[in-house]
Symmetry: C2
Subunit: 331 residues, 2 copies
């Protein structure tokens, strides 16, 4: 098959996007042949703010019934492909929507949230994070949250989590977990990427890591498509192709104020003299519509059609099938 | 002077009480000759819930103008003594009311809050806590919060904070800090009490530690008045009397549900088969009205009238004078 045919045949799932969602942006996903996406609806937000962001999704689905479908299973993602919709899995990049209340895990699960990252950059009540100088590991509350996510069937994401907390979460979780959008540190040595120890532990428990296209974790916009795809292929050799996916971390249609919010939240004043700026994306991947180019690149570095199909979505779908039913063993 | 005279002459400040506040309870403080108290108005609560608890205080002051005065300075506490009122300093036992927003420090300072403990039992965004197995120290957000508390003039309390975070906070703070209600671990080895290393660092920076009467940190209700007062006297010898106060941790008029809330918050389910219960208080100190008995005990173990006066309130007032004006050096 040609690369476009491989892409068109696959059920394509993006492990994470954090766009300023709209019909226009959803059409970019359609153009990229994406059928399922973990769409971030909380980074720093608490419970009430998150309810409103979920409300935004309800409104967008009602306004665009032929474009977007809120989904909670791999079956619904497969159906979205058949219907020409983008299937949206609601996801959190922080446990801030749970505040200090373990019961919020079930509450947000009932609202359709299926993926939650334990911490976002900074330490919280649950555990340590990738940008803190020290990580004390999963806390007492963190252990309750992990058990509760296992019970209701919510996928644990470790992308921005600290390494010790990641290892603790992998060891504690009764279910496989995910790194939805990070690369190995051997590719780019960033606090946002993962050392072999964490990737190995994740894989041994059946988890999936989504290779990430965000400029800061691939070494900047100068990194080439073959360099990125060679990294993906090498990671597949290292851990097994069944544990590798993609999580583009697309950030479409945000102003510069939003990157300052992501970095500084409300936890520190933004340096007005030198505010954070969005990085430049590589020319070969500027947004969701460019995903077929990545498929082409993966085939070009020698991955097979079956391997690329697994990376494009098959592995995420298998993980969702395993985790989303939950263990239901009681809190 | 007789012990009652020493007590009556002193300006008496209790470093912390967490009662179910009412006119009846305030009258117990009056009976105990207490003129100033750090009254807890948040343990697990977030911003909105805390606003309501401050609203409760506004309502209680309006209903009991001859009994209670919300105060924000040692001068107002001295005035409360002259007027026969109980001066109430609004205080937090957690930084949960600040949520993830450093600007809430100034907002709550404007509402009269003058004391905040960095963490309550469990790790949070600011730092580690006394009941967590590991303490990673003061976080990036924690450093912002400490600087902001210094700037606006809000006293940092370390009573339930982890030891590493306590040492970091003491080293980071531009102002002296407090342990409002804990004892040395050499008296009772509890996670809630403080090792010499922490007490020494606190004292070297001009802080004050309030010896605590809560049964669990004095070794149970069987501990005698002379045993408690000997501990206070020995601590004065160790660190200097000017660094020692009292923080009774009185818990008047709560049902058993409230101790379960303190322990478990909303972060884990309460064990219904064996729910937390309030401990029994010693016969010689069952509530605020018994504070004159402690004065008697302190004099009986050989502390001078001046020393007891400093312990009863003078040291807290000096610390308030030093910290509450703030550094105002900008965030």
């Amino acid at each position: 098959m040609t690369a476009p045919d491989v892409h068109a045949e696959a059920v394509v799932v993006d492990g994470l996007q954090i766009n300023n969602w709209s019909a226009e942006v959803l059409k970019e996903l359609q153009a990229g042949g994406i059928h399922g996406v973990n769409a971030t609806c909380a980074v720093w937000e608490g419970p009430t703010e998150t309810l409103r962001l979920i409300g935004d999704w309800c409104q967008l689905q009602a306004a665009q019934p032929d474009l977007v479908r809120l989904v909670t299973s791999s079956a619904e993602i497969r159906q979205a492909k058949r219907d020409g919709h983008v299937g949206v899995l609601l996801g959190f990049q922080n446990t801030s929507p749970f505040a200090d209340d373990y019961r919020m895990v079930e509450v947000f699960h009932r609202l359709g949230v299926r993926i939650a990252q334990l911490t976002y950059n900074n330490q919280n009540m649950v555990g340590g994070a990738c940008y803190e100088p020290v990580d004390a590991g999963l806390t007492r509350f963190g252990r309750v949250i992990v058990a509760e996510m296992n019970r209701v069937g919510m996928l644990i994401d470790l992308s921005h989590v600290g390494n010790q907390t990641s290892l603790d979460a992998i060891a504690t979780s009764a279910q496989p977990v995910a790194i939805t959008h990070s690369n190995p540190t051997w590719f780019v040595d960033s606090p946002r990427n993962k050392p072999d120890e964490v990737i190995r532990a994740l894989v041994e428990r059946g988890g999936v890591i989504g290779c990430c296209l965000y400029p800061n974790v691939i070494g900047g916009s100068g990194t080439t498509l073959p360099e990125f795809c060679t990294m993906v292929a090498r990671l597949c050799e290292q851990v097994g192709v069944q544990h590798v996916g993609l999580g583009s971390d697309c950030t479409r249609d945000w102003g510069q104020d939003y990157v300052a919010y992501l970095r500084d939240g409300r936890w520190r004043p933004t340096d007005q003299a030198d505010p954070p700026r969005w990085p430049q994306w590589p020319s070969w991947f500027t947004g969701p519509a460019d995903l077929p180019t990545v498929t082409e690149g993966l085939l070009a570095v020698g991955l097979s059609e079956d391997e690329v199909t697994a990376i494009l979505g098959g592995n995420w779908l298998r993980l969702f099938d395993e985790v989303f039913p939950g263990t239901r063993s009681g809190a």
